[in-house]
Symmetry: D4
């Protein structure tokens, strides 16, 4: 009963960042805010690092949902940016789907706020159209753990793969030798424990 | 390996509220009572808002299980109301199934107390008859988390989709432009964090 | 080693509601939002019910901290309302202290957001001036449990009494016979489990 | 995509109680001991109540694993009792399997200590031989939650249905009218919250 | 800086069981119901075992608060039983205080539902009159942990000693030799882990 | 709907220990360090005990990831030891796969740090090549529970079996009579509760 | 019974940062690493912002404890820096105490790793010499919550005041009008929820 | 308001290990067994390392409580060993108190099972006789957290100092220079994270 391994390939993957908006972020209570902010920025940094086509979308930026996290705007100044006029499922927005298809990628890495809506809806739509879907669970947030578990179950049952940003980076990078320093810097900036290891290591080896 | 997306459709969905009775509610300990009460009323409000056919049923109202939550009676004065004479699985009650079939809907949204019995039994029966089943996990309660996880596993393994009321509302609504104010009011009444966003937003924009 | 019992006396107590503002509420993560909203409104309702002099104060309503919860404005239209121009410790605002002293009460019931600042600072100031201080711990919120525990320790060490709204109501009421229906209504509106008890009880006894 | 509902049938179900021994019980740390003892006795009581054929088995009673819980011996004096000489998977013991097959039942309700061994191994063996397997998750215990979750995943992936004793009782009973008092007594003896409901109800209605 | 050890003395202690009523018990959510029921009955059993004068009191038995747990009535048929007509603080009821003073004891062991009211109020009153107060924290229950912590802080700050039923039993008994079997039976009936130890021990030593 | 039981067979299983390195271990925060160290050593001891072919591999031992846990080196002095020059997925290293294939075993028992990378990647690769994969969940660690749950879901969905070291030992041993003392020693060294049982048992029976 | 309020005064306070070293940080497991890193940097930033004299000290930087967090070195290039040759209690180091006394401040704000040693020991020593001590509980870390609670109890019992960095900043600042932008920037950099409030606020008000 | 610092002095301290017996250990559920075993052995090792006079005592070794942990017997072959014939509070046993007084020490370090009895009773007795008492909270265990918190509150209120074994070791050692290797070995044997630091450090520096 051999299973195929749908492995992330940096030449075949695109990143969708859905509704990481200042107002909606205040709804996220299943992950501590310091950790969540770090996870979202780590995902953004890795999208940048691996030069993955990245698409931004928001829902009602001018209402209570609030504007996109400014850091994301700054990191992806030239990315397709779809401010949806009303569609809750981003996949219902033609421009969004067009932008995805324009990348020519078949693997979609999705994160957003809130998990069971802004992530799950386009994930299920994408799966139904034959894309491989990788949900970045730790860069997606929602109201509480019960909601998260329900959303994960629905997505996983439909074939989405649940991953976290660190595993994503590792699966995309494949081999440290492709760029030791680049990956180490990414980890050092977003994993305090890893930074500590590097600090101690560098101190001990630099002095030689 | 394309998966079909069984998406909620407000023209094809009915809501089943099973045994939200005053006595049974005191058995619910996997969700905090303030939150649980809010979730049940939010589900009821959205059934109302989307004008989904809604069916109420109870088990032994005149015994220790107690009467239906009065708020539900008030909200759905004209809904089919099946006070079951003894069947534990509501689906074993012919009137209940008749009422469901009379709606002509193929998507059933189910919530109740307690999850592994009043929700799981009719969910499994409905799936066996070919209905699509959407369990509202946060408007269903039971004794403790271990019981909930067992119940979810059983239902999910049989094909039920696990959702929470907020995701339900969003999937049914599809597009904010269908009625911004209506949906926002629903959220504001049942999500304190969303209400806070709206309070701040309205104050800042009303003064212009 | 007899201890004196500083017992709440409805004729000698005033309520201070400090900075329950829409923006600041989004910082509260040590209590679930449904429960917290309920606790704050329960405290407000009991202040009303016992006709305790109540004082509202806010910090920078026109900035990101946001406006006072509208429900509080509505409940206390005639209460002293001190929009502080900048003082973080409300006790540093002369109008606030004047309003308190004008009540002639020696027992101060304090709740606010966030606990270690908006509650602790005036609590410590009031204790230093000889007031008896009762902190309503469940109507006060802050960033996380670690912060709450630190704040409680500081206040308790200085002589503040830590209470929750239900204990407050009971200590103020003293005897159910003073008004059975009034107190029961308060409880029924803010304690779902108590409401369930009343629903079952009323159904069983009304039918007689 | 209709799913069949493998529903428990009291005329087609047998109960297997595996290794609830005094020594092994001290290894159980994923469920509080007061609750766990209650769950095991509740399961035993319901086996008795529904007159389900019940089989007891132990592993090394004379060693540190210790003797079977005396309550179980007392409740099932005439049940097949297989003190296994060494087989860890009870299904590897011929007498055990013979005893099961002698019942002629196709639905096996299994509980034991520890979950990932004494329950999972016979469960997987039984599934491989075509039995329907119902694991009583709350009458099965193990070292910690991580172990439990792993064991559940392994069993559920192989087709076992995860249930708790209360759901079991309800699915077997089908209709309260089959015996209101019997079921109510079972619940009252093992669910303190239900007993409270009955106490209040009986007091209010007996006085009429 | 020597501290005096206010040690429980079985000849100088009385037990007060306050408001363990069927309705109020459904409010208790800081302790699991199986464990809580066991703790209350363990306390009752030890009061009986040490022949401590025990006083029962209830609040509004005929209303939604419900009747006293029947087990307590059965265990203490001749104990003073004060059904308070309305006083929330049992100490405000003259009969209750009279009953206490009639015992001639100076050490009061108090448990009740809910902790911050039915326990804390009489505890603070008793301390103010010079009694030594021992709160049985695990036989007292309330809405949630936050409330419990507040209540403990208030009582401890006033000089109450926080204990659990097991420690109470041990401090009262002083020496196993006073009655090995009696104490062991008490523990075996209320501590599943201890019962397991005894089962294994007895099996191994009886066979000699 | 019979399911096959992929049962561990000590003659057909090999153990892969992936990246249990001093630096990486400081990243593990989903399991307490005392428990985790014990689990890893228990797995190593059982591999030794059952004489399972065992393969060690590390990633960048000379960098911040740090050297392999010295205990593992000591326990398996002659095991294949693949210090990978850069491949993150150990399966991408030819020597590693060769070493596995050289064992001729079809069942792979995998543990490592961190779970979603060092365990999941080779697990998915091995499944894709037709191996049976048994993940030792309690001897694999990662950043936090959310990450663990995502990793488990991904592996389980692909057909990996989730087990813990104790279940592994039991499934491999099959029958206590194969070697009572050996297995008991393994348990006694790694399960404090089991050691306690044996201490009491031996004391009581040795004196005979 | 008036209590004095030992209020922080920015003209009378110094900050002691004790042993925030790369190796020791890997021991901290009572606070999530993302949050802990943020708290330490927030404390450092506020020390800078309020221009409080700040003293750095480390223990065995050249051994496994590792070097000081580089960020702290960068932020305080001119601060007294005492690399202790062996004293575990920093107060046993004369240079450290001299540096403190040289500031002329009587209020000491202390944070460090690990809490029960590097923070508690100098805190107790300082209290014994008559200083006011403010422990920054969320910028101090240790092995687990049990250890933290023990350490807090010991320090609080000796008169130390437990605070978190946010309360510290507020008590030092006293009045927003002293510098609205400076304080808001500090909060925005270290409190994601606050940053979100400001993002939404600025977007809505800038467009006017 | 200067506080005296009751600092541990290795020349004035004795260690009391109370009832760490195989049977009683199975009652401990407030600390994970792997961690608890490690803590007890760490305390024993440090008593040995600092050559503190150590006294062992047990309660009913020949009954279900079981024999002392064999490791403790082995570590302290010549220590006073008081097998109490029945006294629950070890301080009620004259031999125990004589053994303590024979050491001539005024600082007592106490650990035991269970916390609220075997630790708290002698701690309170010792405080009442003027000893300084240091409770080793992480080498003392009991039924659950609620019980532990009650026990800590009682002991702390009477003047006992709550510490954990690591803090104890550090306060006794005072200065690393007294013996770097000895202390580092103690830590390495009982703190996996510290061992990891040393492993990495030694590898990097040994190669020089």
């Amino acid at each position: 009963m051999t299973t195929s391994y749908n492995r992330l390939d940096k030449d075949n993957a695109a990143v969708l960042l859905v509704d990481h908006q200042a107002g909606l972020l205040s709804l996220v209570r299943d992950i501590d805010p310091d950790r969540f902010k770090n996870n979202v920025l780590a995902l953004a940094d890795l999208a940048k690092y691996f030069q993955l086509p990245t698409i931004l979308t928001t829902s009602f930026e001018t209402g209570p949902n609030g504007p996109l996290m400014p850091e994301l705007k700054t990191l992806f100044p030239d990315a397709p940016y779809i401010a949806r006029p009303g569609q809750i499922n981003a996949w219902d927005n033609e421009d969004f789907v067009k932008a995805i298809k324009a990348t020519g990628k078949k693997q979609l890495i999705i994160a957003g706020v809130v998990t069971e809506v802004c992530v799950a809806f386009p994930a299920l739509s994408a799966l139904a159209e034959g894309f491989e879907v990788f949900v970045v669970t730790d860069a997606s947030g929602t109201f509480n753990e019960l909601t998260r578990q329900s959303a994960w179950d629905r997505m996983s049952s439909s074939g989405a793969q649940l991953m976290t940003w660190f595993g994503l980076a590792c699966e995309l990078h494949r081999d440290w030798r492709n760029d030791v320093e680049g990956l180490a810097t990414l980890f050092s900036n977003h994993i305090p424990d890893y930074r500590n290891l590097m600090t101690s290591y560098n101190t001990l080896t630099n002095g030689k």
